[in-house]
Structure formats: C-alpha cells, structure tokens
Amino acid sequence: MLDKAIFFFFAGVAILSAGLMVTRRNAIHSAVFLITTLLATAGIFLQLRAEFIFIAQIILYVGGIMVLFIFVIMLVRLDVALHQIQFSRQKWVALFVTLALAAEVGVMLWSSRKVPGQGFLLPNAVPAAKLLPNTEELAGRLFDGYLLPFEIASVLLLVAMVGAVVMAKKRT
C-alpha cells in the first residue's frame, strides 16, 4: 500500500515534470523541471532499494550535471531564444514517429502480459529483508567483475573533461 503510494507519487511527478520540461519555453524552467524529474526518479530508485544509485543520482546527476546545465544556460543568451519558435518544423512528423514507437512498445508490453517470464509476469522480486547492504555489494561487484569497464569509464570521463575544456576554451 505504502509502496504503491510512493511509486505513484514519484512516477506522477516524474512524468508530469518531464512533460513540462519538454514544453517549457524558458530553458531554465526546463532545467528546473528536469531536476524535478531526476529527483523523482531518485525516489523510485530508493523505492527499489537501490540506495547507492539513489544517492549517485542525486550527487552526480542533480548536483553535478544539472548544475553544469544551469551554469551554461546562464552563460548563454536566453532572452533572444525566448522569442523564437521553440519547436522545429518536423514536430508533427516527430510526434507521429514517437507515438508510433509508443504504440509499438505498449503493444509489446501488453501482449506479453500473459506470457510467463515476460512483461508483467516476471518472477516476484527478492523480499527486501533478504537484500544485502546495497552499497557494499555494489562496490564488490564494481571492483571485482566490472573493474575493466570501470577503468574505461574513468578514461571516458577524462577524455570528456579534456574535450570539454578544449571546446569551451576561448580562442585568443
């Protein structure tokens, strides 16, 4: 019951603010709504007992990436963009395509609802009480089985950092 309430609350907030994010004229407003979506998603993670992902979402996504976004939005002139048309010419095509995609995924999910082992009927989750402390387990797995991807990710971040600095640097 409580679980359900929590899920629907966060899911509702997430979808609502995601919709607002895409439609707002002002990029800062978009960013604020994206932050709301991300926080709501973090709530979903917490409801899924994934504490570490929850906090990583808050610290990295919200506290890091979104700050960067807002920083850039503040640097970039907005008042001109505000009065221009917000949606590109292909918007109706785009809407049609995405709706088609939505229909496809929906049909797939719905039709698989009766097939055991798929869709709605996946095996029930492990009860929460039996879960190991999430952070330790995650760390163990990350530095054990996924050490190489971890290192690659760090290299990726380094490259991205260098790339961002080079891009954004003023050419004098």
Binding site: V22, S30, Q57, V72, I85, T98, L142, Y146, A153
Partner: protein, 100 residues
C-alpha cells in the same frame, strides 16, 4: 516492489517524452537535457530488473550510464559554448555549417 510492468511503463513514458524533446525542440540545451532524460529512463529499467533478479549488475550498469551522461553533458555543453561564442545562437537548425 510493485510488479515490474509499472516500472517499464514509467521508463517508457519518460523515454518517449525525452525522444519527443530530442526530435522537436530547437534549443540545443533542451535537446541535451532530453537526452539526459532518456538515459535516466533507461536507468529505471536497469535498476528495476536488478531488483527483480536480485542481481546487482543492473545497478553497476546504471552507474556506468550516469558516468556516461556526465561525460556527454560535459562535451555537449562545451560544444554549445563554443558554438554560442561564434554564432550567438543555441538553435540547432542554425547549426547548418560543418565549420565556422
């Protein structure tokens, strides 16, 4: 934990909203934000499945996706800043030159 279908629907909804944003918006910053939203939607799937199977690997991948999102945002915003400096605009359909 609710039945997994709810999470899949939520994830799909967010993914599609993000996709709409990516395709229709002209402001590159909002497009980038929509991409972040898509990545986030994928994370919900991964974490939900990780919970269902009791296997933490899904969360490991979610972490990687967050790292990837960070890298993407950094580079993307760097490009936007460089672009804005030269063209004084952030609209993507004006990004029609391959050089400047």
């Amino acid at each position: 934990m609710m039945p997994i279908g709810y999470y899949l629907f939520l994830s799909m909804a967010l993914f599609l909203i993000g996709a709409i944003g990516v395709i229709t918006r002209r402001n590159v910053i909002v497009v980038l934000m929509s991409i972040e939203l898509i990545l986030n939607a994928v994370n919900i799937n991964l974490v939900a499945f990780s919970r269902v199977f009791g296997d933490v690997a899904g969360q490991v991948f979610a972490l990687f996706i967050i790292a990837d999102a960070a890298a993407e945002a950094a580079v993307g915003l760097g490009i936007i800043i460089a672009f804005f400096r030269n063209r004084e605009t952030v609209l993507e359909d004006e990004m029609d030159l391959l050089k400047w």
